[in-house]
């Protein structure tokens, strides 16, 4: 069906997690991302992309989030590298 307008905010948070700007949600604690944490992540994403770091999901930011891109995260932690090795070995 014609879906209602997707929740851009939650999609934005998902995007930020996927590409390394926010820690992935922890299923054990169900801890939510804090507003400040999300704003900080958005700013980091904006600076990385060369956008004005407003900390808000403005139209330029949303547009970039919709731009085709590489699957790999922009911010890579040691966990990402370990995860890849373990996954294939299993």
């Amino acid at each position: 069906h014609l879906a209602p307008m997707p929740d851009q905010y939650s999609r934005g948070v998902d995007w930020l997690s996927r590409y390394g700007y926010l820690p992935p949600p922890d299923p054990r604690t169900g801890q939510l991302q804090s507003k400040e944490g999300i704003e900080k992540a958005i700013k980091e994403m904006q600076r990385f992309a060369g956008l004005k770091d407003t900390g808000k999901l403005d139209s330029d930011t949303l547009k970039l989030m919709n731009t085709p891109r590489c699957s790999l995260p922009d911010i890579i932690g040691s966990k990402d590298l370990l995860k890849k090795r373990r996954r294939k070995r299993r």
Partner: protein, 436 residues
């Protein structure tokens, strides 16, 4: 630039292609091989790395194994269809998938063709990961995470941006030997582009060839805050953020269920405000949709609407339809005239109509279609232009013509062409743009 702290501990690396793109009909295996060879060469040109195509017996043991995969493909990084994520590669190391490079098979991979995603540019980027580079925030850099378009027509002459050269040389050093820069030794064996360089089959148009930048949309509609542009059997969808869901159009028949097979032109579409039903006008009939499915009892004849013109004739089709947010009324345009309806409860035509479309000053009297935004402005679309009539104003002093392609379809601003002086001696220059 950024590296991940992993590098190959050898300088001779092998590569193989496990399979080929299945979606795009023009990228044959020879082409893919040619593109990958030169994408690797971009990195070996500036380091002491050498890339060797794996022999047939070692295809499954190559350091860099290239494949085209869809959706879930057993590596934890599922693809998502056309658009979105394009490709990924695994960093160097001694684990099984190290160096492997995967491309989303549902992309329209192209070479020397703006209609799809340039395989060479994406391959150079992914091989950067396969060699140990992370994403860069520098511009220009091939390692920026976002797709930046093709990198030029001559891939044999491609040179890495400085940021990427510094990055790869920080891992593998500066190239010492001068003569060989080849991923396939010797240099003379570097593949040449297969002929013909870019075959096209006009009789079987790819959907992506429907050029959104040309304009000429049959219908435009604001449906629940998203703007739909219909053209032929396809449509484009623009989210509230003003971003296109995809640069590629979708087939109307795959989304809007219940229109007759072979429908290749929608005259007009609008969303009825009273119940959020969506009305499609095609020729002398109309359909009412609930979400994306036609309701039973439709199509109905256009004569239901009582579109009788000044000369007493009945309209045979509708050119434009919209609900003006300014007053909540429904407007139907046809043949240089328009009718107004109240649809709050049951539809009835307002008295005093039709009126002539020319009452709307400064806009085309036979628009392709019209929409309104929440603020009440009316947007008239015609060919590749649109005009904005401010809320409630039928006779603005001036209505500026704007480019649909640039403002809505994410197309580049047309480059004005400066022509020589007027041949008749008036001395002025002309500026021509594709939208003008």
């Amino acid at each position: 630039y950024a590296t991940v702290g992993l590098r190959w501990k050898k300088s001779e690396l092998t590569w193989s292609i496990q399979n080929y793109p299945s979606l795009h009909p023009f990228l044959k295996p020879d082409y893919v091989h040619y593109i990958m060879t030169h994408a690797l060469k971009a990195w070996s040109d500036v380091t002491n790395l050498n890339f060797q195509a794996a022999s047939s017996s070692e295809q499954n043991r190559a350091d860099i194994m290239i494949s085209f995969a869809r959706s879930l493909h057993d590596d934890g990084y599922p693809f998502d269809g056309k658009g979105g994520t394009l490709a990924h590669a695994f960093f160097p190391g001694d684990y099984e998938v190290a160096g492997d490079t995967h491309f989303d098979d549902e992309e329209s991979w192209t070479y020397k063709d703006d209609s799809g995603t340039d395989l060479f540019a994406v391959a150079v980027h992914e091989f950067g990961h396969a060699l140990g580079l992370s994403h860069s925030s520098t511009s220009p850099s091939i390692m920026r995470p976002y797709y930046q378009g093709a990198v030029g027509d001559d891939i044999e002459a491609y040179i890495l941006p400085d940021d990427d050269r510094h990055a790869i040389q920080s891992l593998y050093g500066i190239k010492i030997s001068t003569p060989t820069t080849s991923p396939n030794k010797p240099t003379s064996q570097l593949p040449k582009p297969p002929n013909p360089p870019h075959p096209k089959v006009p009789s079987q148009p790819d959907p992506s060839i429907q050029n959104r930048c040309e304009g000429g949309f049959d219908a435009v509609a604001n449906i629940r805050g998203e703007i739909f542009f219909f053209k032929g059997p396809y449509f484009w969808r623009i989210q509230r953020s003003r971003s296109l869901v995809s640069l590629q159009p979708a087939l109307i028949k795959n989304f809007w269920m219940g229109l007759p097979p072979g429908t290749d032109k929608i005259d007009a579409v609008y969303e009825r405000k009273s119940d959020s039903r969506i009305i499609f006008f095609i020729g002398s009939q109309y359909w009412v949709f609930k979400d994306t499915a036609a309701m039973s009892g439709y199509p109905r004849p256009l004569s239901d609407w009582g579109l009788i013109s000044h000369d007493g004739k009945e309209a045979k089709s509708v050119e434009a339809a919209f609900v003006w947010a300014h007053n909540g009324k429904t407007y139907i345009f046809s043949g240089g005239e328009f009718w107004r309806f109240s649809e709050a409860e049951k539809r009835h035509q307002d008295a005093g109509y039709p009126r002539f479309s020319s009452l709307w000053k400064g806009v085309p009297s036979n628009p392709d279609d019209i929409i309104t935004g929440e603020e009440g402005d009316a947007y008239f679309f015609k060919n590749n232009s649109y005009w904005v009539v401010k809320s409630g104003e039928l006779d603005q002093d001036s209505v500026t013509r704007k480019s649909t392609a640039v403002d809505w379809m994410e197309c580049p601003e047309p480059t004005p062409t400066t022509l020589p002086g007027n041949p008749r001696g008036r001395g002025g220059d002309c500026n021509c743009g594709i939208s003008g």
